[in-house]
Amino acid sequence: MQEKSHILSSFDKALEKLNDSIRRMAVITQESLGDSARALARRDEALCNRIIADDEAVDALEMEIDREGVNILTRFQPLAHDFRRVFATIKVATDLERISDQAVNIARRSKRLLQSPELPETRMLEPIHAQAASLLQDSLRAFNEEDIELAMGLKARDRELDKAHKELIDRLTRRMEEDAPRLPDYLNLIFIARYLERAGDHAVNIGEDAVYARNARDIRHDRTEG
């Protein structure tokens, strides 16, 4: 990311404040997604409740970033990289908020799973949980550092996550047929897998925003990339 000073120091301060806000939002969201895996594996209700509670802070930060971004756009009318960075930051905030929502959904489904004995198949979600968390981590690094190479690799990695998700759904569906009394629990696991797959999609969006911020390329529907 470019760190050049502007003639107006108040503009620099406003940009730095916006960067601080998105970094704080990223930290909480990453924690929530990571905690959702731990809460599910350890059957930890308190951790589930914390993830649900933390979503309020993420929602507040999303609105704060929108306000700060619009304020910068109207007061300073930034151009070139500055404009692209502010615009992309507002979009990243939307994706982080959605990922936090997915973590909340996972926590709620995990709480439902606590009401019955543990399913051994719960462990089958760990690899895709790790893939989604890794995608999010790298998408945020790509955005912070405007690392195009890292950002461009996210789509291919998301396709691997999609493939793993599909295979998992097939296996869980087969288990549902064999073990009908536990059908609601298997359904909860299928939903959790779906939330993780969606979190991966949002991480890819963050990578696309990194590319736009860095070199003004819109790769969202570019089928030749990644």
Partner: protein, 71 residues
């Protein structure tokens, strides 16, 4: 004539013949021009569609100037 009238007049005149407006006023260039050329010390640095040059300038000199950066 107020600014609105002046700009309408320019718009009317630009239909049969292109108009070159030389300005230091970036806001005015953004509002008026279809194409923008950035000149520095008498040299043409770059020229592009106005929306492109202000969102994605190709030369660092242009980026520095329109972004209000120091140095």
């Amino acid at each position: 004539m107020n600014s609105g009238g002046f700009f309408s007049c320019l718009h009317f005149l630009s239909s049969p013949a292109p108009i070159v407006n030389v300005t230091h006023n970036i806001q005015q260039a953004r509002r008026l021009a279809d194409d923008t050329a950035y000149l520095l010390l008498g040299k043409l640095i770059e020229r592009a569609l106005t929306c492109d040059i202000f969102i994605n300038p190709q030369r660092p000199e242009t980026e520095r100037d329109i972004s209000g950066q120091m140095g």
